[in-house]
């Protein structure tokens, strides 16, 4: 028991060390940050115009429990989360193609653990930057994000949401151990998050039948949960959504570890 907890402590320290270096490394990509920032500002501006038109500029109207202000902030949160995820699938695919996977596997650290550290470090940095940029445009148009404990709910569910995103991306990325191209699968995943993940439209505004489908899939836990909790705090629901997230994380993590173990025994690295 003691050895077991010690093992986890060691793994945690290693993960933290990788996270720290990944944080500093990403700061070199300043134009990337600027470009994403510009895109975020632009797309949020368009969304604000679209939804203002849909609500006819009426700030008091509530549709399926969302006022104009809530919907705009909801979109700020989903966009900030979506753009936070680094391109994990293409990274793994590249590593397998050019053989850099060897550099990862020569270390006494788990492969998924390494990538999780890098992902978490980059995603959290980007998420915070995106929240700041998103706020800069949403605030003047629809007012401050005063949703009670909403911020708390958002942050509480965002960690789990990014973890679910990581695991989903990892599942697709690990396919590179078997097939050459993962971009097609990644495309499918992205589009699923896009629609039934609630990126463009809160799930509450979708038709009844689609809501029932969404409830059974992990995508809602990656975007919809934190963003909705951010504009609609509800302590009881928070506990329930946290539990659902943890459930998905356990399930997906098991799938990732199973898939990794099978994949790594099949792995063939170029350069004979």
């Amino acid at each position: 028991m003691d050895g077991e907890s010690n093992r986890w402590a060691v793994a945690g320290r290693k993960a933290a060390a990788v996270g720290r270096i990944a944080f500093r490394h990403q700061l070199a990509y300043k134009t990337d940050f600027a470009m994403r920032g510009f895109f975020l500002l632009f797309i949020l501006f368009v969304f604000i115009q679209l939804w203002s038109a849909a609500y006819e500029g009426d700030f008091s109207k509530s549709i399926s429990g969302f006022t104009l202000k809530q919907i705009v902030w909801y979109l700020v949160f989903t966009e900030a989360l979506t753009l936070a995820a680094p391109p994990l699938c293409s990274r793994i695919e590249e590593e397998v193609k050019n053989g850099d996977v060897a550099i990862r596997l020569i270390r006494p650290q788990s492969y998924a653990g390494y990538h999780f550290s890098v992902f978490a470090s980059e995603a959290l940095t980007r998420f915070i930057v995106h929240l700041a940029i998103g706020s800069a445009i949403a605030w003047p148009f629809v007012g401050p994000p005063a949703f009670g404990y909403g911020w708390l709910g958002l942050l509480a569910l965002s960690a789990g949401a990014l973890t679910v995103t990581f695991l989903l991306l990892m599942l697709v990325g690990l396919c590179a151990f078997w097939v050459e191209e993962t971009s097609g699968l990644y495309f499918v995943l992205q589009k699923l998050q896009f629609t039934i993940g609630g990126m463009l439209l809160p799930i509450d505004l979708m038709p009844e039948w689609l809501q029932r489908v969404c409830a059974w899939l992990p995508f809602q836990a990656a975007l919809y949960f934190p963003a909705r909790m951010g504009v609609h705090f509800d302590a009881a629901l928070l506990a329930k959504q946290l539990a659902i997230q943890i459930g998905w994380i356990v399930l997906l993590a098991l799938a990732v570890s199973r898939m990794y173990r099978r994949g790594v025994s099949k792995l063939h690295v170029n350069g004979g």
């Binding site: 134009t31 470009m35 510009f38 895109f39 632009f42 797309i43 368009v46 115009q49 679209l50 203002s52 038109a53 849909a54 549709i63 399926s64 191209e181 097609g184 495309f187 589009k191 896009f194 629609t195 463009l200 439209l201 505004l205 979708m206 038709p207 689609l210």
Partner: protein, 266 residues
Amino acid sequence: MSTADKLMANARYVWTCWKVNLAAMEYRLSFLLLAGMMFVNNAIWLFFWSLFFGRFPVVQGWELHDVMLLWAVSTGGFGWAAMLFGNFPRIAGIVATGHLDVYLSQPRPVLLSVLVSRCSVTAAGDFLFGIAVYLMVGDTSPRGMLLFALGLLISGMLFIAVMVVAGCSAFWIGNAEGMTQQLFNSFIALTTYPSDIFRGFVKLALFSLVPAGFISYLPIGLLRDFDPLFAAGAVTAACGLTLAGALLFRRGLRRYASGNTIAMRS
């Protein structure tokens, strides 16, 4: 050689380029998949719009039907432009990295050579999507089809012209790739949202500074309630910008060439 002969020679040249591009594709499966993915991508956007209009049936006079036609005109126009003149979004990069030299050494109009020497296969997905959506929901009477063809022509020309003008900035400021890429993405995005959700200064900009409005108002002003004034404006904008792009490119080229000779002397 007379002007007519010259025109004929250029037309033959462009025709040959297209044939070569088509042959070079060899109908590779991965390309077909990419084109298919573009088709699905666009379809998913329309799915989003159907959900959106399920909640808000009419937004600023626009209905789902109009937005579908907007996507038909925008993706269809982009599709033919990127298939036949595939290099139009890349002019800034080609200028900045000195790749123009290859085209300058050929006895053909430089801008035309640049534009036709690439064919975007994924754009085939966009083009087919545009046509498919129009056949599904558009007016298929001869008059309707003719107007749609005009709409495709206007939107494709605008895509090309705007990116040529933007790309020419590389002649003067050098590394403009990142900036024009952003402009390109934003411009495309703007052409897929109803023009009437924007107001005031921004709407004005849509019909002047960033003329995406001439595309995103086509479903209303050209296809639904034919507005001669708007139609004339859109045609003028498309032709005018194309001409402006060509002239600007010619001026940039003079700068490019003289810049090179200076570099060679030093």
